[in-house]
Point group: C2
Chain length 218, copies 2
């Protein structure tokens, strides 16, 4: 344990070169996490950023700190996707678009799933962004159900389930051409949306009860 993060200089007040390096590190981490997942060695990130490991560790004492910093952006991007979907006049289309887009983000960024599904209790900004995303998704669910287009027994946990499932596809097809992976994901998502849609007696064949998962399941 090195420095208490709360007494680390606020990113804006760093010396010019330090701020510059910080930016380079974040960019490098974003690329490397996307390409190779969250378990990539720290040295690889440092090398890609063109700095020494010490600089990386000084600015981000923990892998977790770096991960949350990187993915808070992606997560707010995710929130804006959800907000756009909430603007969609047709609630069902809004729901579908949001789900499809988030799953596409999952496939494009190999670290996204892990970051999204893991809880980082000490990362305030990150958790706030995720809270926003979750709130928006819940609202999308509510509206789609109110419009009678989404099964009444659908819950947030089912969305988590899809994200985990899609993450599994992403992981398993990681070293496959990207087109194959996205095609696979698209088909999975389409199937799930088909399953969750109403349009006939939804009670004719009830699904098993929703598992007790929240976004903070870990």
């Amino acid at each position: 344990m090195s420095a208490d993060p709360s007494q680390m200089p606020p990113a804006a007040k760093l010396r010019a070169d330090a701020r510059h390096n910080r930016t380079r590190i974040l960019a490098a981490a974003r690329e490397v996490f996307a390409a190779r997942g969250l378990d990539v060695p720290m040295a690889a990130i440092a090398r890609r950023a063109g700095v020494g490991v010490a600089t990386l560790y000084r600015r981000f004492p923990t892998r977790t700190v770096l991960i949350t910093e990187v993915f808070t952006d992606q997560l707010t991007g995710c929130v804006s996707v959800v907000d756009t979907a909430l603007g969609e006049p047709d609630p069902w289309r809004g729901f579908c678009v949001a789900v499809e887009t988030v799953c596409r983000m999952q496939m494009a960024d190999r670290g996204f799933t892990g970051a999204f599904l893991t809880a980082f209790p000490e990362a305030v900004d990150f958790e706030r962004a995720r809270g926003n995303a979750e709130r928006g998704l819940r609202e999308l669910i509510r509206r789609a159900q109110a419009a009678g287009r989404l099964r009444a027994d659908f819950t947030m946990a089912d969305l988590m389930l899809l994200f985990m499932a899609n993450g599994g596809v992403a992981a398993e097809l990681a070293d496959q051409p990207a087109t194959a992976a996205t095609a696979a994901s698209r088909r999975l998502v389409a199937a799930m949306l088909t399953a969750w849609r109403t349009e006939r007696a939804a009670s004719a064949d009830p699904l098993p009860p929703a598992p007790p998962l929240t976004l903070h399941h870990i």
Copy 2:
């Protein structure tokens, strides 16, 4: 590289103590793979089996050899599940039972998904068992489609997709109570079966084309 496996003594002709240890190692590996996945250190398996690492390496020169040896059993178990399902008079029920059972096996054994979805070209027995499983599953698909219960555009690749997806759920919920994980898996499987079932104009909303996956996709 130590000994050519083809000139290793056939398991049956080992000295009594060696054969005994071999059995213990396989049992230990089965347990450890199930509990902690395929990436577990070799030393952990040796310790659990009550032998030294050298013994482990002598009998199974490569992790791959050990994995395939262990999971060939599971795979033939899988084949027998499929065969039972083929005996089921209702083709749709047979299909569902097979899918549900295999997915349950995936959840019960943390290494199963990885072993099942990875190709081991040099492991003849393993690949043969997998070929049998695949053949049976194809037949189940064919029959369910012939009975008009399974969408005509369903393919083997969709089954692979489900196995990957289910593996993702298993991985993400690995350190969760087993009941939660199985509940989640059950719900995922039920949703997928709902999506693939026919019973109304299947062509009304075509799924995206099946991704080009086979069992040997890696």
